[in-house]
Symmetry: D2
């Protein structure tokens, strides 16, 4: 087990393949089974009242698991989300960044599963949890 990409290579690669969203996220930490990602909350992520929207939390969780998978298997921009489950448990604090702590639960030949807990910055009560399954296409030879 080892990483195929460093934190910096990963951010560069996300910027290349997802120019639309790479500015939304920062990677705080990366290891072989964990990544910590932050949503750089901006006006476009908010609902009235200043709380982060559900779709923005979905995007954060999805991107965290994608980054985790890429960090292990290398540049496979074609890995696609096949399943997601989410629980929204608390209202996020107004106008704060959201921290996602992702753990890789399985990295198989064709399927990868990651678990994500999300927190308003400064709180240790989770605002949401998510599990994402990615399908990894076979390597072309």
């Amino acid at each position: 087990m080892s990483l195929a990409m460093t934190k910096e290579e990963l951010m560069d690669y996300l910027g290349e393949v997802f120019p639309q969203v790479a500015d939304d996220f920062a990677i705080d930490a990366l290891s072989e089974e964990h990544v910590t990602m932050r949503l750089l909350t901006a006006e476009r992520h908010l609902r009235p009242g200043g709380t982060v929207s559900g779709p923005s939390m979905f995007a954060l969780a999805d991107c965290a698991v994608y980054a985790m998978v890429l960090a292990r298997v290398g540049r496979q921009a074609l890995a696609v989300t096949t399943n997601s489950s989410m629980d929204f448990m608390r209202k996020p604090a107004s106008n704060t960044q959201i921290r996602a702590e992702c753990r890789l639960l399985k990295l198989g030949r064709t399927l990868a599963v990651g678990d994500v807990l999300m927190f308003s910055e400064g709180s240790d009560k989770p605002v949401a949890r998510a599990t994402m399954t990615y399908s990894i296409p076979p390597e072309k030879t």
Copy 2:
């Protein structure tokens, strides 16, 4: 069983409480247990290659079930998503609108559950499915 709001009242209300997203969606049909909503696909909903992004499909499904619940219980902007499950089954066609067909499975005193199938316009093979649970706060008196 009857509707608390018409299709037009519903669109007006969504525009009022969610000005950020109301332009993204149109309601095609509304009845006591079904709503058909369309994602008015624009550049901001796309991934490289022109397919609609996962977070945009999440937003569509979430908004469809929210509209369905509102149409039944009336103006309760505080109803919140507590759980979501999604399966992404096919790649959406490039640069097309997405049609969401939502069915209300349960409308209880405190929880509502809706099921959503999503299709690329012109196709009858679902690109994704979603189930959303909404928590309905008790009426204030």
Copy 3:
């Protein structure tokens, strides 16, 4: 699109590979994208008060999607469940059979997805819904 097995062949096959549970279920109808299966409710499926237990409804939904996949791809006893989401919406009626209506949403090369609505016999209000994903192992040659 056509069926690889008839209803009778399917029941025989389930009895062969799952002798422990084949007596729990009956197949009422089978077509290319739908199967209707019934839980032959017995004491071992009940909770105090006489309602069907959650694990029994999970088993019913899981078996319905498995039967649907088998009916299409043929005898592949190794197909395995990789993901499940369920919503329990109403208390099943006491001491009744449960009818599961399964629809095949996707049958890909490696993944199949089926949706299931479950009803107490005689009612048209769903007691539960489930989605199951099956992983289909590559054919050995």
Copy 4:
């Protein structure tokens, strides 16, 4: 935050309200936000080949979260599962017990959410994960 029941009181109570299944499970550890429960694997939990069945893992996860909720709110046998998501990630080892590590993510006034990782005894690779939502009925006064 404190426990409303000890590990022994909890086991006694489960034996009282769920006589059918209480023999299937043992509680190894209990604290304010975690419970470790074990499936005492017997013939009735197995599939051909000796691996623990999906419904048995569902029952284990469901019972672990139920026990966690009861341990906090006290004897509320009426708390009911409203939602479940599960990922089956690895084949359980043959003929072994399954250990479930449950964490309470939310204990609200009406909804509780718990996360469960399951392992074949002796392994640290999860065979499955589950999230369960319980609805807690209002106290009668």
